[in-house]
């Protein structure tokens, strides 16, 4: 306690059958510190935090809280000791109010009834104290994801947390919400709370953390001060080798137009027009990036080009052939490959094996099948070949896709799409939620495929990704192309266009 250390984990070891999840991991957190826990998926961050939160028992090592050894039998013990955790997925009850959710389990009572007013008052006090703005009387179902996260934080504070674990808190937030979260974290810090911030995003960690502990394959690699650390140094510690954060690529050599979209109008499932007269071309050997804030018509645009959504009006020309009212099957046959934005909900059947997933488009064609009869061994052979070629780790052809890490799942999707030799490859958010190693791989691969003469349409919410990969940038705003840039352009201008800035400044 003398040096202001509130929490110390020493020599933590946790073995699951066949896997050493934590091996002699140590971590110390000071009072009023934001301590980032950085590591790739599967590095052991979650295991370590689950041990701290009483969900797992360590096989070796000890936990000291305020200098005294503690042993938590359950999350309840950890909460009582002043440790709070905000999980990636919120544990809120949507039909109850914010205040009810926060006091759940320790409700202030008025006789046998819940003291609703008292609860709301307590919540309001807390929310003012830490600058966490949220309406205590609102239903959780009605508030935004960012606000739900604040409710989770308030819940932990209400239960008296001094050490707050935030498990990848920005993953579900928009950039604006992330900003607000950061200022909340600063407030908590000023109030003497200690925060353990789990992430694999380097820029975030550098911005918010005081000190950073890097885990790799279950081991503590280093604990460094955020000052003096760089993205490159952290990436190296995380991955264990130098990582290219910028993509190296030659200038594009565009060829024939492989995808042309003219005056396209598309409505979403609710009948709202989301794409309003979009026209563009993508040529062989170039990457065209579409930048935009989520929900400005990107999803509908992609779904129209891939035959998953009906077109209201306009033309789509693939490899010189015009298509109207094409089904997903016809688009696949025309040579449109698609790495979808949600690999778990759409890109993969998680319950299927890797082999079955790789056959998702071609299961009915030779050599996979003949006359309706499937040849599983051929599926497996092809999968084995692609697993090797695309460096998919964590399983063989018969492994369930759902059991792979996010990066490897995405490699399976990429392997399937690229191996079909598409003329046009649409990559929607190809690196969302992936760690640096996997991002590097996918970016390099996209550039390679470009150089092989495919037309690549990249849609991403990450400006950095758009800028580092694209040969041409289109900005989409409210279903229209708000800007087009070739060559050098500033991120500020594109950012402005993404928010409809050009319109406003012109008006």
């Amino acid at each position: 306690m003398s040096d202001g250390v509130v929490l110390e984990m020493r020599g933590i070891r946790k073995v699951f059958p066949g896997v050493v999840a934590n091996d002699d991991v140590s971590l110390d957190v000071r009072v009023g510190e934001v301590h980032a826990l950085l590591g790739e998926n599967g590095a052991g961050k979650s295991t370590l935090m689950n041990i701290l939160y009483g969900l797992y028992h360590p096989d070796a090592g000890e936990i000291l809280l305020n200098g005294k050894p503690v042993a938590f039998g359950s999350a309840r013990d950890a909460i009582r000791a002043g440790i709070g955790m905000v999980h990636q997925h919120f544990m809120l009850i949507p039909v109850m109010t914010v205040a009810e959710n926060i006091v759940l389990g320790t409700e202030p009572r008025d006789g046998i009834f819940l003291d609703e007013r008292g609860a709301e008052r307590r919540v309001r006090e807390l929310s003012q104290q830490f600058g966490l703005v949220v309406d205590p009387a609102a239903l959780v179902a009605d508030i935004t994801v960012g606000q739900q996260q604040r409710v989770e934080i308030l819940k932990a504070l209400y239960r008296g947390a001094d050490v707050l674990i935030l498990d990848e808190p920005t993953a579900v937030l928009t950039p604006q919400e992330a900003r607000e979260l950061f200022s909340i974290i600063k407030n908590l810090q000023a109030d003497g709370k200690s925060i353990i911030f789990i992430s694999h995003k380097l820029n975030e960690v550098l911005e918010i953390a005081d000190r950073i502990t890097v885990l790799r394959r279950g081991k503590t690699i280093e604990t460094v001060s955020a000052q003096g650390a760089t993205e490159a140094s952290l990436a190296r510690a995380m991955v264990g080798r130098d990582v290219l954060l910028r993509v190296e690529k030659k200038p594009a050599e565009p060829g024939d137009v492989l995808l042309a979209v003219e005056e396209l109008h598309v409505k979403d499932d609710r009948g709202i027009e989301k794409v309003r007269g979009v026209s563009f071309e993508v040529r062989a050997g170039e990457i065209v990036g579409i930048a935009g804030v989520d929900g400005n018509g990107q999803t509908e645009l992609i779904d129209a080009i891939t035959g998953l959504q009906k077109i209201e009006s306009g033309r789509i020309v693939v490899g010189g052939r015009e298509v109207e009212r094409a089904s997903a099957r016809e688009m696949l046959d025309l040579g449109v490959g698609h790495i979808p934005e949600d690999r778990q909900r759409r890109g993969l059947v998680l319950e299927f094996s890797i082999a079955e997933n790789i056959a998702l488009h071609d299961y009915a064609d030779p050599p996979d099948a003949k006359w309706g009869w499937l040849f599983p061994r051929r599926l497996v052979q092809r999968a084995a070949r692609l697993i090797k070629e695309f460096d998919v780790r964590g399983g063989g052809p018969l492994t369930r896709a759902g059991g792979l890490s996010g990066g490897n799942q995405q490699k399976v999707v990429a392997a399937r799409e690229i191996s079909r030799d598409p003329k046009v490859l649409i990559a929607a958010q190809p690196t969302r939620g992936l760690d640096v190693g996997a991002i590097e791989y996918l970016h390099r691969r996209l550039v390679t495929e470009r150089d092989r003469g495919r037309a690549i349409l990249l849609v991403s919410l990450e400006l950095e990704e758009i800028f580092s990969l694209s040969d041409r940038i289109l900005v989409i705003y409210e279903g229209e192309i708000a800007g087009e840039h070739t060559g050098e352009v500033s991120e500020e201008l594109v950012g402005l266009e993404m928010l409809g800035g050009r319109e406003r400044s012109a008006a």
């Binding site: 599967g42 990636q88 993969l348 998680l350 056959a359 996010g406």
Partner: protein, 408 residues
């Protein structure tokens, strides 16, 4: 997104320890091929044992009598001689098993495509009716084609009947649970009318009895163990076992099965993969109905030969099929074993138990108690998974929408 990232956890071991409901369920789902159904059955038997105990009898004796009554003790002294009670009992148990295999498959196949077919009972009746009608009407035919026509027509009729529910789901989104339940009632009342007083299929000889005609001898399935007059075991059991093989091969070795499973696991991924989801909903429902229709045909041609209006409300083989499919985890082997268990229970409790072992009025109910408990335990597990999955599906769009709103 990141919440989905973590699901399922990296290894089943981790899942078991992480303590969350979803994680432990996903572990059970994977590890529980045989273990979970086995535990379920054991617990159901234990709890039913308490019921027997509460009536002042010895549960172990009761179970031994059910075992013997179902003819399962035959394996200790195997003989084909039906003078042996065990052998006779076994043939009767296997008759029940035949039906339950097929009604079980009718539920299981739809399940694999993500649908809950509660209409097995109605589809079974349709098969029964068609087999009775053609079995009586085409009396001049020679046996093999006659049997073939009856079976094929009844199977197709069952398929078409279930196909209605699939069609309604695919076109207007009517939930198959509702439509199949309603179609059950349609089949029940159509059957009551057909077999009842003055109905088109009522027997020709005695118009005071609401019973159908007997099918012609040429339509009766050959009996290979026992005598036709004494309700011997017909070749239907082999057809049912063949259906299990067909079920397995269809799901795992054909492109149709690939599509069915893809749609069942994740319709959105299936559509993205280029699979016609609506077509698959209709087709899977029809194939389900085909199994149930076949069950009706085999019962009619195998040992019932005729059907009474009053028998209709008493039949519950279609509903037992749900328990069989749930217990069998919608796999071919599981359905086969589940059907054998319930077949043995059905026959064993009605014939094996004497009043010294258990009160007679409780005897028949014991099957339903055990069945109910099995469905309860397995159903709870499936239900929780179902709710969990739909919650996962629901939460994402709302999160995305909220994020949209926040940025706008």
């Amino acid at each position: 997104m990141s919440q989905a990232e973590n699901f399922p956890p990296e290894s089943p071991e981790e899942a078991a320890l992480s303590g969350t409901l979803a994680a432990s369920l996903s572990l059970r789902q994977r590890a529980g091929g045989f273990i979970v159904p086995l535990i379920t059955v054991v617990i159901a038997f234990l709890m039913s044992g308490f019921v027997v105990l509460a009536t002042g009898h010895n549960p172990l004796l009761a179970y031994r009598d059910i075992f013997d009554g179902a003819g399962l003790n035959w394996i200790f002294h195997p003989t084909t001689n039906l003078a042996s009670t065990a052998a006779y009992n076994l043939t009767q148990t296997l008759l029940q098993t035949t039906t339950l295999i097929l009604t079980g498959l009718a539920v299981a196949f739809a399940f694999r495509c993500g649908m809950f077919n509660i209409g097995g009972q109605g589809q079974y009746f349709i098969g029964l009716i068609v087999a009775n009608w053609l079995g009586y009407d085409f009396a001049h035919m020679s046996p093999f084609p006659h049997i073939l026509i009856c079976i094929v027509a009844a199977t197709l009729a069952g398929a078409a009947y279930a196909g209605i529910a699939g069609f309604l789901k695919a076109t207007v989104g009517a939930h198959e649970v509702i439509t199949t339940i309603m179609l059950n009632w349609v089949a029940i009342w159509v059957g009551s009318w057909l077999f009842g007083d003055g109905g088109p299929l009522q027997n020709a000889s005695d118009k005071t009895v609401p019973i159908s005609n007997d099918v012609a001898d040429s339509a009766k399935l050959p009996v290979f163990w026992g005598q036709q007059l004494l309700q011997g075991l017909d070749i239907g059991i082999f057809i049912a076992i063949a259906a299990l093989v067909v079920f397995w091969a269809l799901l795992n070795r054909t492109t149709t099965g690939y599509e069915v499973r893809a749609v069942g696991f994740n319709p959105e991924s299936a559509a993205y993969g280029g699979i016609n989801v609506k077509k698959n909903l209709i087709r899977a429902m029809a194939i389900s109905g085909a199994f149930a229709g076949l069950a009706g045909a085999l019962d009619m041609l195998g040992y019932l030969y005729h059907y009474g209006q009053n028998d209709i409300p008493l039949s519950s083989v279609g509903f037992l099929g749900i328990a069989v499919a749930l217990l069998g985890r919608n796999t071919a082997v599981g359905v086969g074993l589940g059907a054998l268990l319930f077949g043995a229970l059905l026959f064993g409790t009605t014939h094996g138990l004497t009043s010294t072992v258990i009160k007679p009025e409780l005897a028949g109910n014991l099957t339903y108690i055990i069945q109910g408990l099995v469905v309860l335990f397995i159903g709870a597990d499936v239900l929780i998974l179902y709710i969990w999955n739909s919650r996962r599906k629901l939460r994402r769009p709302r999160g995305a929408k909220a994020a949209e709103a926040a940025t706008a």
